[in-house]
């Protein structure tokens, strides 16, 4: 464990700063001292938004897109990759045990109440995977009044979508049901970015400049259609006891457009590049049932049971798209499930001399399985325990949050090789039991100003794909893989004022963060004769940086928000920065409300990023402008005949026709996209 000088200085500031107090800040009960972004999904109901788009509003978060609209997207927090970010829906893990990541495009904004992004590790509470942070999704709650909300969207590239929600509430129960559909031909035009524009060496440019210049192509086989739904209910048995449940499903059928390497060949056409026939189907079903007792002894108790089912099926006719040789039609299917129970208890504060003590605990037992038709079934038992105390002093101005997590696991054996030359044998995984400590502090400095800091251990067990990926000769898992172990530190100032001159709802945050991973897991491509791609522990990786975030409402009709994240990283194995991690990410938005109409403008800028781990190929910096307008039609002049609650909105994405590439290094649409949306939500 390394404690850096800057951490000591920061801890010193915490201990010797003048005492003051502060409140009215967002806090997550399981990690009150964590730095959190809270995005209220309802505020974006007048837009055609995805969860990926909304996450740009959170400092420290970057979305990695693997294609255009509807394509696989993952979240990165403070440089952590998708496997190192835990995503929860109503407390249930969405990260699959097979691949360890979550496709954000499978979640409909309209089914969510809020998105909480906890930056920094959440391992003490949630165990493995929460290395970079946690994204907590809370399903949409029924409002006190019955409501119906229907919308329809049409847009570029033959995109069609719609949502329907109905909510009903009585004094004893409430329920909310939501259904979403989105489909698109998604056949966008693009010009591949010339390879010489991605490299810096003039000699390499000299060779690459000889390549045939790319034409303009259509991205074929990128079409998709997806449906999702979410139902939630809550039944109050009495004033202090309730039972709630969440059911969620998602399904998508989509093409897999493949790479575009064929575009470098003379005479390439739309049909000759990429992959014109492979398809991928995805399904997810989730069921959660919780029993809540708000008066249980001297605290509150919750018991929750859950089951999640994911199925992924890939069909590659002819085997041309994903395999180096023609092995005939390839159909692979993987079913990933997770079931478990969790018991949590939150004690009420107790005064003990000059300090207040309160605590929370949670115990979880989870059983994860993966069944794939190209390998044998695997499973993993995970048990975890979490205990957090809160110690208040100085009338609540100084709060400490010591916490300790414990996680143990038992993973089934799987077929694997200890080395390439070994035969396939049953391999045991080195399951470790780990203690995951955390210490957090909040110090109120003045009214609306406070200092927070956290120091915590984070941990990630290798997922099943990393351990036991079937051996295809050119790719395989690594059963000897060791877990990733890291220490996270952050310190920062929060400022919050409800009113400051002409400003309302002023929120500002300045945070420094640092994470040291002792043994990163990376997939290393063995080009050459073996061409084996396999995950390996590649040694230390350090990430540090700072986050600036501010938002305010000016004169109650102009909403302004901006955030900036600086990320510096170093991977010891390569001596370069982390892949897919820009040093600078800027986001700014402005929304002006003029009576029944609203106009908004958003700006995103990312600096150059490294696409490969060897510091050779970079993607250029990009800046994107998006514009939107919405209006309540019935409240516009001369439009009183329109049904109340009818809203129209229109958006233009990528106003400046910026050419950019996705996280595969493949092009995204380089012209502006538009969406037109009608919504009926009578109140």
């Amino acid at each position: 464990m390394k404690i850096k000088i800057n951490r000591l200085i920061a801890i010193g500031i915490l201990l010797f700063a003048p005492f003051a107090w502060g409140d009215d800040f967002p806090e997550v009960p399981d990690a009150p001292s964590a730095f959190v972004n809270v995005i209220h999904a309802r505020e974006y109901d007048d837009r055609f938004e995805s969860v990926e788009d909304l996450l740009h509003h959170a400092a420290g978060v970057r979305v990695r897109r693997f294609g255009g609209l509807g394509s696989h997207s993952t979240a990165s927090i403070r440089g952590a990759n998708a496997q190192q970010v835990l995503v929860l829906l109503d407390g249930v893990r969405l990260n699959t045990s097979d691949r360890g990541e979550v496709d954000l495009s499978s979640i409909a904004v309209r089914s969510l109440e809020k998105i909480e992004v906890i930056r920094g590790s959440g391992s003490a509470r949630y165990g493995s995977d929460a290395v970079g942070g946690v994204i907590k999704l809370t399903s949409r709650r029924a409002e006190p009044d019955d409501s119906v909300d229907i919308s329809g969207t049409s847009g570029s590239l033959e995109t069609w979508g719609g949502d329907a929600s109905i909510a009903k509430a009585t004094h004893q129960w409430n329920a909310n049901v939501n259904f979403n559909r989105l489909q698109s031909e998604n056949q966008f035009q693009f010009t591949p970015i010339e390879a010489e524009n991605l490299v810096t060496d003039h000699r390499a440019k000299a060779r690459l400049e000889r390549l045939p210049k790319f034409g303009r192509y259509h991205r074929l086989n990128a079409d998709f259609a997806q449906n999702s739904g979410l139902a939630r209910f809550e039944w109050s048995r009495n004033a202090t006891s309730s039972i709630s449940g969440t059911a969620n499903f998602f399904e998508r059928e989509g093409g897999q457009p493949g790479d575009i390497s064929g575009a470098a060949l003379p005479g390439a056409t739309d049909e000759s590049i990429g992959c014109n026939h492979a398809t991928e189907d995805k399904q997810r079903a989730l069921l959660s049932l919780a029993w809540n007792e708000r008066q249980w002894g001297n605290g509150a108790f919750q018991a929750q049971g859950f089951h999640r089912y994911n199925r992924r099926s890939l069909y590659d006719e002819g085997g041309f798209c994903f395999l180096p040789i023609e092995l005939g039609d390839q159909r692979t299917q993987s079913i990933d499930t997770s079931s478990g129970v969790e018991f949590s208890y939150a004690g009420r504060p107790t005064k003990l001399g000059p300090v207040y003590l309160s605590g929370r605990s949670a115990t979880t037992v989870r059983y994860d399985t993966v069944r794939a038709d190209d390998s044998e079934a695997k499973h993993r038992w995970v048990g975890s325990f979490f205990l957090q105390e809160e110690v208040r002093a100085l009338k609540g101005r100084l709060r400490f949050f010591p916490a300790l997590g414990f996680e143990t696991a038992k993973t089934s054996e799987g077929l694997g090789r200890s080395a390439s030359f070994s035969t396939l044998i049953k391999q045991e995984v080195e399951d470790e039991s780990v203690f995951l400590p955390r210490i957090g502090m909040i110090l109120g400095i003045a009214n609306g100003l406070r200092l927070k800091s956290n120091y915590q251990r984070a941990y990630r067990r290798p997922n099943f794909t990393e351990l036991f990926h079937p051996d295809y000769g050119f790719v395989r898992g690594n059963p000897t893989l060791q877990p990733e172990d890291s220490w996270n530190f952050d310190v920062g100032l929060e400022f919050a004022r409800e009113s400051l001159g002409p400003l309302r709802q002023v929120r500002t945050e300045v945070v420094y963060f640092d994470r040291s991973i002792e043994d990163s897991i990376e997939w290393i491509q063995n080009e050459g004769s073996g061409r084996t791609l396999m995950p390996q522990n590649t040694g230390p990786a350090d990430v540090s940086g700072y986050e600036l975030k501010t938002s305010a409402t000016v004169f109650e009709y102009l909403d302004l928000a901006a955030n900036y994240t600086r990320t510096d990283s170093n991977v010891a194995a390569t001596g370069s920065e982390l892949v897919q991690t820009p040093e600078d990410v800027y986001f700014a938005s402005a929304a002006i409300r003029l009576g029944p109409a609203k106009l908004w403008l958003e700006f995103t800028r990312e600096s150059e990023i490294l696409l490969d781990r060897f510091n050779i190929v970079h993607a250029d910096a990009f800046a994107q402008w998006d514009l939107g307008i919405s209006a309540q039609l019935s409240e516009l002049p001369f439009m009183s005949w329109v049904p109340r609650g009818l809203e129209v909105s229109s958006e233009w994405i990528n106003l400046t026709d910026q050419a950019r590439i996705d996280s595969w290094g493949l092009p995204l649409p380089d012209s502006k996209l538009w969406y037109l949306r009608f919504r009926l939500a009578p109140r």
Binding site: A206, L208, A264, I325, G328, L424, Q525, S529, A573, I616
Partner: protein, 578 residues
């Protein structure tokens, strides 16, 4: 006397240092050259000493001529060969694979490429395509795709019904031997089936380039079936032969496996037949061409799945009889059935010099590793290999003494493998040595591609520890010892490099092979007389102690040798063995 100890200590330190091999790499602007492409390959220009060709499989497929003059900036000369537009690869990545450069006198004649992505063989010139007449059609490459129909009922398709015809796929390597072009193709497979369990084929083409436009046509027979699956490389051997590297099965989760089992098939392209199979049993041989020493005595291949180097004695292979068999039908692999034979094709296990049984020590980076490429130095007295996952170059000294005679080759010809971490810290792949003419490794440039398509150049310094094996402990190093396993044997009556005491076939015990030896052996086998040196009888079949016997085949081999139908008999008798 402390100063004496200090002096001795310093001398030991510095004397050790003198044997240490090092590698240095200059600044990236001088000693690296980014190609930025996938699966690159490098080969030296066959005639120009300071030029080489880099090959890109995709992302600008084709070759680039580069200048590699020592001390000067690695750079493109501006001469490029771009993959031709008419190669029928539209819609598929060409995946250009191995490259072979055809030497001809003092000039570059042509190069050959394989494209596994669209199964073609492509001749090229440094600055452009070369037009050939293939089966009468003018074109710049020719296809290796096709379906071969026939009674191939002995091949299975991964548990499915036997196949009676198969598709050709995965063109992996090409070489020209005489007026034959040999092209290695992956496994025999029914269309759409999993081909991993079957052997592969070597396609044969005739070439006539006496005129202005080379004529290429399909030979008869059109193909040879290999002993084991996945023929991935073919190497021209001295004497008009070729060696096909059958990588075998590896990393395939379909039992039953022969993981680790590959082989080298020795082919006579004119006779269109396999004349020997040399099994490599404990690590799949790699998919780059064999490295041949300058005297054509030893070929070295690295393990694709194990960190071993295998040296193979390739002397006298031309003497092997051409078995009478249908080359288009498979005989048993040396890895299955009777270990002594693969049908009419001999299994030459003893040709593998187990110089590197111990895995190469990792460079402190990875436990797994495989040898991507390896080459002999120009002086022939050292080998350099790239060990991919170890991020290192493996260097091995080689003792060249007495290679010109049929002196027994022992493992001690090779020194202990030494790893040199590559200065770049990146996985090294295909590689060449740009040597100096002096003996030893010092001053040689090693040029290797890393996995992201950047060429690196490192210069070797220092020297490798010389091999010093003395198997019988008689004070004479193995490379000079006329009988490495017989103490103090210094006589060699026929001056063939094999001492009197270990001359197999010399059943009379006078140190040379004569007609009287054959007569004595004939009489012995008929029960008419005893032998003076019965331990020297075995010259064919299995070794003594491994099931070898003294039988009539030994007499036949001995008589052939005496009739000059063979240049040597095989050293399998007890007197020549440890």
């Amino acid at each position: 006397m402390n100063w004496l100890r200090l002096l001795l200590c310093c001398w030991l330190v510095f004397s050790d240092a003198a044997f240490a091999l090092g590698i240095s790499q200059g600044p990236p602007s001088v000693d690296t050259l980014p190609f930025v492409c996938s699966a690159p390959v490098i080969e030296l220009h066959p005639t120009a000493p300071d030029l080489a060709f880099g090959l890109c499989a995709n992302n600008g497929p084709g070759t680039s001529e580069i200048t590699i003059e020592p001390g000067e900036i690695l750079d493109f000369t501006g001469t490029f060969y771009d993959f031709p537009a008419d190669a029928s690869c539209t819609g598929a990545s060409p995946n250009l694979g191995n490259m072979w450069l055809e030497p001809s006198g003092g000039s570059f004649k042509r190069g050959w490429l394989t494209a596994s992505g669209c199964d073609r063989v492509i001749p090229f010139q440094p600055a452009g395509s070369e037009t050939i007449l293939f089966e009468g059609n003018s074109q710049t490459s020719f296809s290796t795709e096709g379906t071969i129909a026939g009674d191939y009922f002995q091949y299975s398709s991964g548990g499915e019904p036997a196949i009676s015809s198969f598709d050709l796929n995965f063109t992996s390597d090409v070489v020209r031997v005489g007026n034959r072009i040999l092209v290695t193709m992956s496994n025999i497979a029914a269309a759409g089936s999993n081909p991993v369990m079957n052997p592969g084929v070597v396609l044969l083409f005739d070439i006539d380039d006496s005129g202005a436009t080379p004529l290429v046509s399909t030979a008869a027979p059109a193909f040879i079936v290999t002993s084991d699956p996945n023929p991935t490389a073919v190497t021209a051997l001295p004497g008009g032969l070729a060696a096909v590297t059958n990588t075998g099965l590896h990393d395939v989760g379909v039992p039953p496996l022969l993981t680790g089992a590959g082989s080298i098939d020795v082919i006579d392209p004119v006779a269109a037949t396999v004349i020997a199979s040399i099994p490599i049993s404990d690590g799949n041989p790699g998919s780059r061409k064999l490295a041949l020493d300058p005297t054509g005595s030893v070929a070295v291949v690295g393990s694709n799945t194990f960190k071993h180097l295998y040296a193979i004695d390739i002397r006298g292979l031309g003497d092997l009889p051409r078995p009478s068999m249908d080359p288009t039908l498979q005989r048993p692999s040396c890895h299955v059935g009777d270990p002594s034979s693969s049908g009419p094709v001999p299994c030459l296990r003893e040709r593998v010099i187990r110089g590197f049984v111990s895995p190469i020590a990792p460079n402190g980076v990875a436990a797994n590793g495989f040898i991507v490429d390896l080459r002999f130095g120009l002086s022939g007295d050292f080998v350099v290999a790239t060990s991919f996952n170890d991020l290192s170059l493996v260097t091995v000294a080689f003792d060249t003494r007495n290679l010109d005679v049929l002196h027994p080759l022992l493992a001690s010809r090779f020194g202990a493998p030494e790893s040199l971490a590559v200065p770049s810290g990146l996985q090294p792949g295909p590689m060449v040595i740009h040597g100096n003419s002096a003996s030893g490794a010092a001053g040689s440039d090693v040029l290797w591609f890393d996995l992201v398509g950047t060429l690196h150049r490192g210069t070797l310094s220092g020297s490798l520890a010389s091999p010093t094996g003395d198997a019988d402990g008689d004070g004479t190093e193995d490379a000079l010892d006329l009988c490495p396993w017989v103490t103090n044997s210094a006589l060699d009556a026929d001056a063939d490099g094999i001492g009197n005491d270990c001359q197999c076939g010399d059943v009379e015990g006078d140190g040379s092979l004569q007609a009287s030896d054959a007569d004595q052996l004939q009489g012995f086998l008929a029960g008419a007389n005893l032998l003076i040196a019965p331990e020297k009888c075995n010259v064919h079949g299995l070794k003594d102690g491994e099931g070898g016997t003294c039988d009539i085949l030994d007499w036949v081999y001995l008589r052939r040798r005496l009739a000059n139908q063979l240049t040597s008999v095989q050293q399998r008798c007890a007197a020549a063995l440890p």
